[in-house]
């Protein structure tokens, strides 16, 4: 079982690398015909990734949502799955050029994060599972939203600067990216809200709120405020496009900061 997890991991790394390369080549290639190899290889990589997560968690007898190691890895899987589902409904293949390397980074990065569960006995275990699950799913969706936002800004800047030649027919339209970004935020926001609320509840139970725990709680709230502002301003004042993309990226950056704070474990509680 351990060998299978290891093999699945290495094959997953290779497949993610290949998918990243294929997405990049597809973007750099002239012509408008889309290649399906990038998404196919990415799907294969996700399958290998899933095999790795399942077998490794079985070997270690850990629930995947109970440790940051598997949480990070699982977030990448969610991001890839969200991307693969979304691309069936919108011409978003180019977003893969960011999602595939991000998934690879998460998969490899998770190897440097410990697998032990260090939850506080005062925290309800089922609630903790729900908290981590919501966060993992939310992070996955926000990663794709961030990728769409980044691509939006690049494409928008090129169109504004009249450097539109050579963009090819494989890039999604600005409207598609804007809509996808909004939908991913809408999907991830309730999960984030749940994660923030439960996280706040857990913090109340912690007797000594360490610097790391404080930082991630702060960034958690900040993420919620930023993304709430993006969604509310869009609804109320019609703020979309460039400003919404910047807002989304700011929110996603906060999410990643929370993840980093978890990962480096600045001496705090690793719930």
């Amino acid at each position: 079982m351990d060998a299978l997890a290891t093999i699945a991991f290495y094959l997953g790394v290779i497949a993610y690398s290949a998918a990243s390369t294929l997405f990049f080549l597809d973007l750099a290639r002239q012509g408008s015909a889309r290649s399906l190899w990038g998404p196919r290889v990415l799907a294969a990589a996700a399958a290998l990734h899933a095999v790795h997560v399942i077998t490794a968690s079985l070997v270690l007898n850990r629930c995947p949502v109970e440790s940051l190691h598997f949480g990070l890895s699982f977030s990448a899987l969610v991001a890839v799955a969200a991307f693969l589902v979304l691309r069936r409904y919108a011409s978003l293949d180019a977003v893969g050029v960011i999602v595939a390397p991000a998934a690879l980074t998460f998969l490899v990065g998770a190897q440097f994060v410990g697998v032990e569960v260090t939850s506080d006995p005062l925290i309800s275990r089922p609630l903790l599972v729900l908290h981590v699950t919501a966060n993992v799913l939310g992070v996955g969706l926000f990663v794709v939203a961030g990728a769409a936002g980044l691509l939006f800004l690049v494409l928008e800047r090129r169109l504004q600067k009249h450097r539109a030649a050579g963009l090819g027919g494989r890039l999604p339209s600005l409207d598609t990216l804007d809509r996808s970004m909004h939908r991913l935020l809408l999907g991830g926001f309730p999960l984030l809200s749940f994660g923030v609320v439960t996280g706040a509840l857990f913090s109340r139970h912690l007797e000594d709120l360490s610097g790391a725990a404080f930082a991630r709680t702060l960034f958690g709230f900040l993420t919620w405020i930023v993304l709430a502002a993006v969604l509310v301003l869009r609804r109320v004042a019609g703020v979309r496009g460039r400003r919404a993309a910047y807002g989304t990226l700011a929110g996603v950056l906060c999410v990643l900061l929370v993840v980093v704070v978890y990962a480096v474990r600045l001496g705090g509680h690793g719930s």
Binding site: A165, L167, S173, L174, D175, G238, R240, G241
Partner: protein, 464 residues
């Protein structure tokens, strides 16, 4: 020969070029005023989105530099606020080469674009109707169009389907994706604007048309299958549409920054694509850079097209070789034309002398001859003149085109012939000379385009 004075996308940005834009109805007056000047014999104006150029030929004896100065003055008067030095001037062979390159689309922003050929023909037609073209410009333009066709047929410079309208439609897709739910506003009219509108409409977009003249708006709306609206509805309609195509002949902006701000409020931040095909521009450039607003003028679109067609650069080299060869051929013809007045004068002198002798004989010893015999003698006389002057004519043309040290040049031969045959003293003979342009018309270079209307009355223009 000719001079070319003007400015193009290569020498001046659109902000400067639009100051020189001249309404079509004012072009004949400009040309007529120019040829009324003592040094200018012929003139035409090539005015497109990417260039404004006055092509002029000198009146007999006038230096080309003076013609270029006159052309520069005429153009400068159109745009008093333009920066000094905005205009370039080419004369002689350089001007011919430039004109051939322009007609062949080598000087276009979109290399190989086909519209320029029609625009050059149209420029000729306008000048012809105004009575400002003669033999020189007729020959030059004919040759330029012939060269342009050679370039298009012998190179792949015009291959591919990339054009300003197709790029505009592609950019719209880049912004909005599926255009089936989009709406397009066409402000004003123009071939290119209508082509863009039709392309977008064929992708499923709804079309609205706004213009100053209601009858024209309704006619255009019917033609393109859209909905016509009055000019006063422009502001309100801007807020309804995703794409705006403007192509009016208004001298100033018809869509100001404030219009766009209002439209953005109404659209609640949804993107808007403004395609400004007019010169002078219809949309205030301050709009550029606003969040969600994408403004492309004709230069921007053409640049995108040009960037997409960089592979045409290789064909351009081949096209340049063709143009160089054609310019050389034209130069040889033009050089040879310098000998034509002398040949014609010589021919007329000799024929007049022989005809006078024949007439005397026909009144004397040959008066018994009938009409058929007299006609035969006239024919024989013409044939004798031709035979007699064949070698001298050839050598005179050679002297004009070939600068060989061991043979006398055209100036020496001209002096000798004028002295030997008293060509410069015989007032009657001189008066009988046809104008140089007519003489030129009898000796056109090979491959001349037949598409231009025949050369106008050059005697009236007195050009060379």
């Amino acid at each position: 020969m000719i001079s070319v004075v003007g400015l193009s996308h290569k020498s001046a940005p659109i902000e400067v070029r639009e100051q020189f834009a001249l309404p079509a109805e004012r072009v004949p007056a400009l040309l007529t005023e120019l040829v009324a000047r003592p040094e200018v014999g012929e003139a035409l104006l090539v005015s497109t989105c990417n260039r404004v150029e006055l092509v002029a030929a000198a009146r007999s004896g006038a230096p080309l530099d003076a013609v270029a100065r006159a052309s520069r003055d005429a153009l400068a008067a159109l745009a008093p606020g333009a920066p000094p030095g905005a205009l370039y001037a080419l004369t002689g062979g350089g001007a011919v080469k430039h004109l051939f390159g322009v007609a062949s689309s080598l000087d276009s922003l979109v290399l190989g674009e086909p519209q320029i050929l029609g625009q050059v023909k149209e420029a000729y037609e306008v000048a012809r109707r105004a009575g400002t073209v003669g033999a020189v410009l007729h020959r030059t333009l004919s040759r330029a169009l012939h060269t342009a066709k050679l370039v298009r047929s012998r190179t792949a410079i015009g291959s591919g389907q990339v054009s300003v309208p197709s790029v505009a439609a592609e950019l719209a897709r880049r912004i909005f994706g599926d255009l089936s739910g989009s709406s397009v506003l066409l402000v004003g009219s123009g071939d290119m604007a209508e082509t863009v509108a039709r392309l977008l409409q064929s992708s499923g977009a709804r079309l609205l048309v706004v213009g100053r003249t209601r009858e024209k708006v309704d006619a255009l709306a019917r033609a393109v299958g859209g909905e016509g609206r009055g000019w006063d509805a422009l502001g309100a309609t801007l807020g309804e549409v995703d794409i705006v195509i403007t192509s009016t002949s208004a001298p100033g902006h018809v869509i100001e920054l404030e219009h766009v701000k209002q439209a953005q409020k109404k659209r609640r931040g949804k993107s808007q694509f403004l395609i400004d095909l007019a010169v002078p521009r219809d949309v205030d450039p301050k709009v550029q850079g606003r969040d969600g607003v994408f403004l492309y003028n004709i230069d921007d679109l053409s640049q995108v097209v040009a960037d997409s067609l960089k592979t045409r650069g290789r064909e351009a080299l081949l096209a340049q070789e063709i143009i160089d060869a054609e310019v050389q051929s034209f130069d040889r013809w033009a050089d040879a034309e310098q000998a034509t007045p002398l040949i014609v004068a010589l021919r007329e002198r000799i024929r007049a002398a022989l005809a006078a002798e024949l007439a005397r004989s026909l009144k004397g010893r040959l008066r018994h001859l009938g009409a058929a015999e007299r006609e035969a003698l006239e024919t024989m006389l013409d044939a004798s003149v031709n035979r007699l002057l064949h070698v001298p004519s050839t050598r005179l043309r050679d002297a004009a085109t070939l600068a060989e040290l061991e043979t006398p040049g055209l100036p020496e031969l001209t002096t000798a012939l004028e002295h030997l045959f008293a060509l410069d003293e015989d007032a009657d003979a001189e008066a009988s000379l046809p104008p140089p342009g007519v003489a030129a018309a009898s000796a056109s270079p090979r491959g001349e385009s037949a598409e231009l209307a025949s050369a106008p009355d050059v005697a009236k223009l007195g050009t060379r």
